[in-house]
Amino acid sequence: MIGIIDYGLGNLFSIHNALKSINISSKIITSPEQISGYDRLILPGVGAFPEGMKHLKEKGFTEILKNTAKPILGICLGMQLLFEEGEEFCKTEGLGLIPGRVVSIEKPSKDNLKIPHMGWNKLEIIKESSLSKSLEGNYVYFVHSYKVFTKTENIIAICDYGQPITAIVEKNNVFGTQFHPEKSGDIGIRLLKNFANISI
């Protein structure tokens, strides 16, 4: 059973609906005490980094997330919060589960790059992972203005937006996707299925 963490930000029902469409049970959890009843966790999130951390703290989720050995999948802002530090508006400490920082997407003046990076972009798998099985070369849906900067060893997949954008990360039991699998059609569903099948 997957627990979807509700800390007041993000489209929880889309993730729940996407899992339900492939008969994977999930429930939305609103307090850290409930985590013990689930074998894997999803940390969703839409919005700004400081606001995200503030809500996670207020709901009391930070410590338990830092110490759990259960597989965690962070989505979009949820993935960014897994890192040590965010630079959106001001420097904010993240969960620190994976070394790295969240920085703004570069905007080279000559290019006509639009920010946020919004739309379907192609995944390039750079490292084998059970999460990214059968995803190479497929398009997934992104909406974000900040990107993760981390060591290559933590990166499973990237996409190209005039610069490499970290798309999937993994370190031990901690996983993240910058894109929205719950909005990425069949490919996104495949990734959620991969996450549900990761051996514990």
Partner: protein
């Protein structure tokens, strides 16, 4: 880079799908969630619902439609029509939509764009601009389903909307809409060159090459069509195959 998007639009009246040709004729043709799921299977990159429900009381039906659609459609969903307050925006997004499009209400109260962008992020605020060519060759913004000329210059208003926080422009040419003679490339290109946010071309698409023109000549990020898909004249798959063969980056 980001793939160009193909977007089917469904007009929804009191919870049912209809298609208005030039905003007048209405034909009942089914359940919105069912149609959206079918389009998603065909490869739609996003789905737009335009709620044309007339009375305020019945507007709540669109929230139920969005909920039902979000249970089975896993591509982005944009909802427009009759959205006039931050509360409306919140209700639609909470029901499972990813973006809302603002039209008449944004003209009457431009601050709604700013409020919506501040609260929910600019990526979910789409400005829908219905434009009509004037005698002098310029284009004006029309509201209320194309019935009222605001006198606003289209380019001026669209630039202002971007400054206020609109994250995307859905541009419909009222002259082209329903004609199947192709998008109005002139105004569409002018809008693309005036803003630095994605632009969706709408109104007038009738053939495969009209889609290509929107991307290659006008430079849009997405092309929207309604009746063409609705009546099965072209499938989204056919359109995508044609565009991929022309070398345009499209999600397979």
């Amino acid at each position: 880079m980001v793939a160009k998007r193909i977007i089917p639009c469904l007009d929804v009246f009191e919870g049912r799908v209809v298609k208005g040709v030039r905003f007048v004729d209405l034909k009942d043709a089914g359940d919105p969630a069912e149609c959206a799921a079918a389009y998603s299977r065909q490869g739609a990159d996003e789905i737009v619902f335009l709620d044309i429900t007339a009375t305020h009381e019945k507007r709540k039906t669109i929230v139920e439609v969005v909920k039902k659609t979000a249970e089975r459609v896993f591509v982005p969903l944009t909802v427009g029509g009759g959205i006039s307050s931050v509360e409306d925006i919140k209700n639609i997004l909470r029901a499972g939509a990813d973006k809302v499009s603002l039209n008449s209400a944004a003209v009457r109260n431009p601050d709604l764009i700013r409020q919506g962008a501040d609260m929910f992020g600019k990526q979910c605020i789409v400005l829908a601009a219905d434009v009509k060519r004037m005698m002098n060759g310029r284009y004006n913004i029309y509201i209320q389903g194309g019935r009222v000329d605001t006198g606003l210059d289209a380019i001026d208003w669209i630039i202002r909307a971007e400054r206020l926080g609109a994250g995307e422009i859905l541009l419909t040419s009222m002259d082209a809409d329903g004609t199947k003679k192709g998008y109005d490339l002139e105004i569409t290109k002018a809008v693309v060159e005036s803003v630095n946010i994605p632009v969706i071309a709408s109104g007038g698409c009738g053939t495969l090459s009209h889609f290509a023109d929107a991307f290659e000549i006008a430079g849009v990020d997405a092309a929207l069509a309604a009746s063409l898909f609705h009546f099965g004249e072209l499938t989204i798959g056919e359109v995508k195959k044609f565009l991929i063969d022309r070398g345009i980056e499209i999600r397979k």
